[in-house]
């Protein structure tokens, strides 16, 4: 039964000695071997490393040593977080078989807290996608409906959490890549404030937008993981030197909390099942004493073009490092320019090439002002919208996505796929914290996510209000049908 224990429950039982870390890890590896052939959540497993770490923890407990807060907790990591001696690919052929020489800061922190890394999860190549269909290696299925995508780009992490193939997971979120798959797969997904969590050892997509955060089955578990990974890191120049508050023992009382409802997010095309679930969440919050306030974020419709210019521009620069010289795959060539061009032409997939081309175009001399600079100015307007909104509310409630999980192949054009992120992009452009919390199932049995956006560094309010939504209409004890 240990497979369905979450982060908090596993740690409690291992720390008390009720169960050994080895037993927990062994049960989890057996479950993964049984289920993941069908689901495809993992790209790489580290069974030997996980067993060795578990044995070491059990030895420490027997010796009377103090165990960390995540002792024995099996964790899955999105495969764009580098792990020493465990192959890391970012879902790209250009990094196939790459064995990183160090651990990312977040991985070091998890290990130091006693967590056990069981494997690396699938993603859209370099985080560029909203369905995990853009992975160079495999498709990942949604445990709630195997004909549908789990969302993306952290789709492998979301599927692993949803199917009980890890206690919790870390993903990354550049434009919604934690929150959107969490919504599609019935998990809690939290994107921290930009700078709250170190990006050292995170394979960069768009550096001014990327953040690492947890995916878990409960708000409490997500808070526990955030507590572990948050904090200043001198190795990341954009990491904030700000004290980390207590995220774990927060009250779930929302009495008097002002919750903003931006009309721009509720006015457009939203699937009926999503609308119904959001209404239930609103009613539950009002019944619990929260005050619902109508607000406006007037530049919301410009987030999509601004994001899809800023992010590809930064990506085109970040991905310049994959040239076949220092690491990754290398094409045969007789001169250096051909080596670069052939390596990159053969190693990158179609969506990555499209975004590198779009970003290079937007940064090009003569076009810079019309595209890149303009997008950065719109980014400033979007941030101003939020700054103004905080005068009348404490947190903002929206649907995480306009639809539930879509079927494989449903998004035929790039723009169709980009529109899947429409409600999650502004949060990254403004650097705010955001969370997606399950708020029920549709009549088809598909999960719906409620998104909460907070003031900078106010993850605590998201956890508090998210906890209230979870208590009233969440999916904490619901499991996808085929995965008992």
């Amino acid at each position: 039964m240990s497979e369905w224990w979450g982060v908090a429950e596993t740690a409690k039982r291992v720390r008390s000695g009720e169960v050994t870390a080895f037993r927990v890890v062994e049960d989890m590896l057996v479950r993964i071997a049984r289920l993941d052939r069908e689901l495809g959540a993992y790209l790489e497993l580290d069974g030997d490393g996980a067993r060795a770490a578990a044995n070491e923890l059990d030895r420490q407990r027997k010796a009377g040593e103090l165990l960390g807060p995540l002792a024995g907790v099996p964790i899955a990591l999105k495969d764009n977080l580098v792990t020493k001696d465990v192959v890391t690919t970012a879902g790209s052929k250009i990094l196939a078989g790459w064995n990183p020489p160090y651990d990312a800061t977040v991985v070091e922190k998890l290990r130091a807290a006693g967590a056990i890394i069981v494997g690396k999860t699938n993603l859209d190549e370099f985080g560029m996608g909203s369905s995990t269909e853009r992975s160079a290696f495999k498709k990942t299925k949604n445990p709630w409906d195997l004909s549908r995508v789990p969302g993306g780009s952290s789709g492998g992490s979301a599927a692993a959490v949803a199917a009980g193939m890890c206690a919790g997971s870390l993903g990354t979120d550049t434009g919604g890549s934690i929150r959107q798959p969490a919504a599609f797969s019935g998990c809690v997904g939290l994107k921290p404030t930009y700078g709250r969590v170190s990006r050292w050892g995170v394979i960069a997509y768009a550096s001014s937008l990327d953040q690492v955060g947890p995916l878990a089955r409960t708000v409490e578990d997500a808070a526990l993981l955030l507590q572990t990974i948050a904090g200043h890191d001198p190795r990341d120049a954009t990491s904030l030197a700000t004290a980390v508050p207590d995220f774990v023992d927060l009250p779930r009382d929302v009495q008097g909390v002002k919750i903003g409802l931006p009309k721009e997010y509720f006015a457009g095309e939203i699937e009926k099942g999503v609308r119904v679930a959001l209404e239930r969440a609103k009613t539950a919050l009002r019944d619990a004493g929260a005050i619902l306030v109508d607000i406006s974020l007037p530049h919301t419709h410009l987030a999509l073009p601004a994001y899809y210019l800023v992010a590809p521009a930064e990506a085109s620069s970040n991905l310049a490092r994959y040239d076949g010289v220092r690491y990754g795959t290398r094409a045969e060539a007789t001169d250096l320019l051909s080596l670069y061009m052939k390596t990159r032409g053969a190693g990158f997939g179609p969506e990555v090439k499209r975004r590198i081309m779009l970003g290079t175009y937007a940064l090009r001399s003569g076009y810079y002002d019309a595209y890149y600079k303009k997008a950065q100015q719109i980014r400033a307007l979007i941030k101003r919208d939020f700054d103004a909104a905080w005068a009348s509310c404490d947190v903002i409630l929206t649907p995480t996505t306009p639809t539930t999980a879509f079927r494989f192949g449903a998004k035929a054009t790039p723009i169709d796929m980009y529109l899947a992120d429409i409600f999650t992009l502004s949060c990254n452009l403004a650097g705010l914290p955001g969370i997606s919390v399950p708020c029920g199932l549709t009549s088809e049995g598909l999960p719906v996510g409620a998104q909460l956006l907070g003031k900078p560094l106010d993850e605590a309010s998201l956890i508090r209000v998210g906890g209230a939504i979870e208590d009233a209409v969440g999916l904490r004890d619901r499991r996808p049908g085929g995965f008992p």
Partner: protein, 100 residues
């Protein structure tokens, strides 16, 4: 917002990205459609708005100028495809030059 084939080829060279004929054609169409969709931003009045490069105001932090232990050479070089001792081997920088 149609792009010419020549423009797409120029961007691919700037991006150091080899694209075959099919890819060039597809990306020419995709970029045109995406940029067309993004024309909404052109009409937005942004006079006097300072571009926002980072959502959080960040100053370059400086650390104390003391040597730190580097990544060991063996670890740093283990990802490279071709080595000669502690050096990375690449083909000639000048086309037609002496290879390696």
């Amino acid at each position: 917002m149609a792009l010419t084939r020549k423009e797409v080829e120029e961007i691919a060279l700037l991006a150091r990205l080899h694209l075959d004929d099919d890819e060039l054609e597809r990306i020419q169409g995709d970029l045109g459609a995406i940029l067309e969709h993004f024309q909404t931003i052109a009409a937005v009045d942004t006079t006097g708005i300072a571009p926002l490069t980072h959502a959080v105001a960040i100053e370059s932090p400086l650390r104390v100028d003391e040597p730190q232990p580097p990544l060991p050479v063996e670890l740093a070089l283990r990802g490279t495809a071709k080595r000669d001792g502690d050096l990375i081997v690449v083909p000639s920088i000048i086309p037609g030059g002496r290879d390696e």
